[in-house]
């Protein structure tokens, strides 16, 4: 049998080393990047990205991913902002006032989120196209909520039919639905309405509550919401907090007067005696040195 030549051995060795090198390299995981647009009460507009990856067959949020957000294409002039995902894998970038001119130019906009490559993930992009829209929220007699969804078309706000929206009241935690149905669909006039069925809902000190109409994560419009304050709640009288009052559990500087008086009196009395005794020792010393 013919012996393998040196070149054959070299080829086998290099192939082996290359294979080992490939195996040694850690394969980068896939990053799932989601992007959403939010128009909060027609005042605050921002982009919200969420980064996830599959771990043990389940999607888990990925923290610490640096993201760049663009209006349109990926170029420095289109950069809206940068953000880093938090422990929930979420990052938010507010649309700056500087982008206002570009925003007004068109009825439809495309947003792009690009992740920076890291040790575990490569560059990932995600885009979303939205049509500019807004909600006009009003009330009608008999405690009714009326919301009209309007989209910008050829420079005019046109009612939109067949879009689901929710009616709710702002609370400390999540919003509270106002009626029996979870969602309401806009009719041919772009309007949806709901009866306000919540009784004796605690409001602020004047009984005001905040109503919210919201289109949630719509493919065309993103998330759009509108708010309105109405006096439909019950007056809430908050009890005076003890937080800033003198008490045993209050912060430093709010010692109860009786405690301060006692503590300082005892301290002064005892240290007064000690100081007196120090002077007595001085007196003894003087008597001995004269």
């Amino acid at each position: 049998m013919k012996k393998p030549s040196h070149i054959t051995w070299l080829t086998i060795m290099m192939s082996g080393m290359f294979t080992l090198g490939l195996l040694a390299q850690e394969a980068k995981s896939d990053l799932n990047l989601g992007l959403g647009y939010v128009n909060d009460n027609d005042r605050l507009q921002y982009l919200k990205a969420s980064a996830k990856t599959k771990i043990n067959g389940k999607f888990q949020p990925v923290a610490g991913i640096n993201l760049s957000f663009y209006l349109g294409t990926e170029s420095p002039s289109n950069l809206l902002g940068k953000a880093r995902t938090n422990s929930r894998g979420e990052a938010v970038a507010f649309i700056p006032a500087a982008a206002g001119e570009e925003w007004k130019k068109s009825e439809k906009h495309e947003f792009l989120a690009v992740s920076e490559p890291s040790d575990s993930f490569g560059t990932t992009k995600s885009s979303i196209e939205i049509t500019r829209a807004k909600i006009k929220l009003d009330t009608a007699e008999g405690r009714k909520l009326v919301a009209a969804l309007l989209e910008l078309r050829e420079g005019k706000w046109i009612p939109v039919k067949g879009v689901d929206l929710t009616f709710s009241v702002k609370r400390m935690g999540r919003n509270l639905g106002v009626g029996d149905s979870p969602t309401y669909t806009t009719d041919s006039t772009g309007t949806a309405n709901a009866d306000f069925k919540l009784a004796e809902l605690p409001g602020d000190s004047s009984g005001n509550i905040t109503l919210v109409a919201r289109v949630e994560d719509n493919d065309t419009y993103g998330t759009v919401s509108s708010e309105k304050k109405v006096p439909w709640g019950s007056d809430t009288q908050y009890y005076d907090s003890d937080f800033d009052k003198r008490s045993l559990y209050a912060r430093r500087g709010l010692t109860p007067l009786w405690l301060g008086f006692m503590a300082y009196s005892i301290g002064l009395a005892v240290w007064g005696v000690l100081i007196y005794l120090f002077f007595q020792i001085r007196k003894i010393k003087k008597l001995g040195t004269v």
């Binding site: 912060r251 430093r252 000690l274 020792i281 003894i284 001995g288």
Partner: protein, 436 residues
């Protein structure tokens, strides 16, 4: 009193150079102290993570040691103040021993509390940002105050002795730090005016130290009692702690009496009668402390609320039972059993009883502090296994041992440079005795 008798008292009571036993004793103490310092430097560099303390047991043997030091320091007020005010003349040879123990113990109490801090360099924040509502602040203030009161009570009765120590005939008797005596006592001329001021100052101090001493240990007990936990939730804790403190202090005096009597040949001054009387004091205090212990354990055990049950059963028959029963028997029952007999109040048995009281009392502090920390009202879960138990790490043992050695070293140094029995007072009492 003739001059010869006077000179004999002076020569007998002058501080003496260490013999071989004394030198070995000091070397042993120094070794323990150095080991403690090295362990503390290690703790400073690595942090409290090297201790066995964790989320649940955040007060381990450092705090047990602290409570022990505070307790033992109360002996100064018992012997010097209470017995002095009660005009108990037999306690005169014991007053300085008691005051030296008090000053040494309170010094180490202040040190050991800093050792328990993870970031001792931030200690000053306690003064800058401390809340007057917190018993910790009260403890800091009262410890500092008690230290100065004890120091003054040690110093003022020493003034006449400094003059004796500076006399030429005393100088010849052995090498002593005369610069120290000159600095602190050369101005004492034994004039009637000086004696009058000094006696009045000592009387004022004797009255002042009693509330301060009660305050120091009551406040220390409140560090526990103001915390709502099984074993600590008691309205009786102040009195319970003070009675225990007087017991351990009196036990320590018994030990020190025997040690100094034996080392300095003071049989004529610390007599068997002193052991007999001090033994009776210890019996009384042990019975009092036993009474408070019965109250502290029997009443909650009778009710046996769920949270208290785990804690109490752990002490009575559980994992702390051996230490608990050792502390009860060693600190109270066995010493009572020894000292109740007249023969038990002879120097050696009394010394053994004193040692049992001191050792048992140290473990009693451990029993007060640690088991409760392992029984919070909220359930313990989702924690590392080691958080469910506590056994001090080597560093903790070394630091605690070093601090105890430190206290003994301070007492030893005091005994080397100061007369362990007040010389002038002994002469005065002998003269009065002769006149009578």
């Amino acid at each position: 009193m003739d001059n010869l008798a006077r000179q004999k008292i002076i020569q007998d009571l002058l501080p003496q150079k260490f013999g071989t036993r004394g030198i070995i004793w000091v070397v042993i103490l120094l070794v323990f102290c150095i080991a403690g310092i090295v362990a503390y430097i290690h703790q400073l560099s690595k942090g409290l993570v090297i201790t066995a303390m964790g989320d649940y047991v955040s007060w381990g043997i450092y705090i047990s040691n602290f409570v022990f030091f505070v307790a033992i320091s109360l002996v100064g007020s018992l012997i010097t103040a209470i017995l002095r005010l009660a005009d108990v003349s037999w306690s005169t040879p014991l007053t300085r021993i008691a005051e030296i123990i008090a000053v040494s113990a309170i010094t180490l109490a202040a040190i050991i509390i800093v050792v328990d801090m993870g970031r001792p360099e931030r200690f000053y924040n306690l003064f800058i940002h401390g809340r007057l509502q917190s018993p910790i602040i009260w403890d800091v203030v009262v410890i500092i105050t008690y230290f100065f009161v004890s120091l003054l009570l040690l110093y003022l009765p020493l003034l006449p002795d400094f003059t004796i120590l500076l006399k030429p005939e005393s100088r010849r008797a052995g090498s002593r730090p005369h610069f120290f005596y000159r600095f602190f006592g050369s101005f004492w001329k034994n004039t009637p005016e000086q004696i009058k001021i000094s006696n009045r100052a000592i009387a004022i101090l004797s009255v002042t130290i009693i509330p301060v001493a009660f305050a120091i240990h009551t406040v220390t007990s409140w560090l526990f009692a103001t915390t709502y936990r099984p074993g600590w939730d008691s309205t009786n804790f102040g009195a319970y702690f003070i009675s225990g403190a007087f017991l351990v202090g009196a036990g320590a005096v018994l030990v020190a009496m025997y040690a100094f009597r034996d080392a300095y040949k003071l049989e004529n001054y610390i007599t068997e009668d002193h052991f007999d009387k001090m033994g009776k004091v210890v019996i009384g205090l042990a019975l009092l402390y036993l009474y408070f212990n019965i109250n502290e354990y029997l009443v909650p055990a009778y009710k046996m609320e769920k949270a208290e049950e785990d804690h109490l059963m752990g002490l009575f028959i559980g994992r702390f039972a051996r230490v608990f029963w050792f502390a009860i028997f060693s600190a109270m029952i066995v010493p009572i059993a020894i000292l109740i007999f007249k023969k038990g109040r002879k120097p050696l048995p009394a010394f053994i009883a004193g040692c049992l009281v001191v050792v048992g009392s140290w473990f009693k502090r451990y029993i007060i502090v640690t088991p409760t920390m392992l029984h919070p009202f909220l359930p313990m879960y989702q924690s590392p296994e080691k958080f469910y138990h506590y056994f001090p790490s080597l560093e903790e043992w070394l630091i605690a041992g070093g601090s105890l050695a430190g206290m003994l070293l301070i007492i030893t140094i005091f005994a080397r440079i100061l007369p362990i029995i007040p010389i002038q007072e002994t002469i005065n009492e002998s003269e009065e005795h002769e006149k009578a």
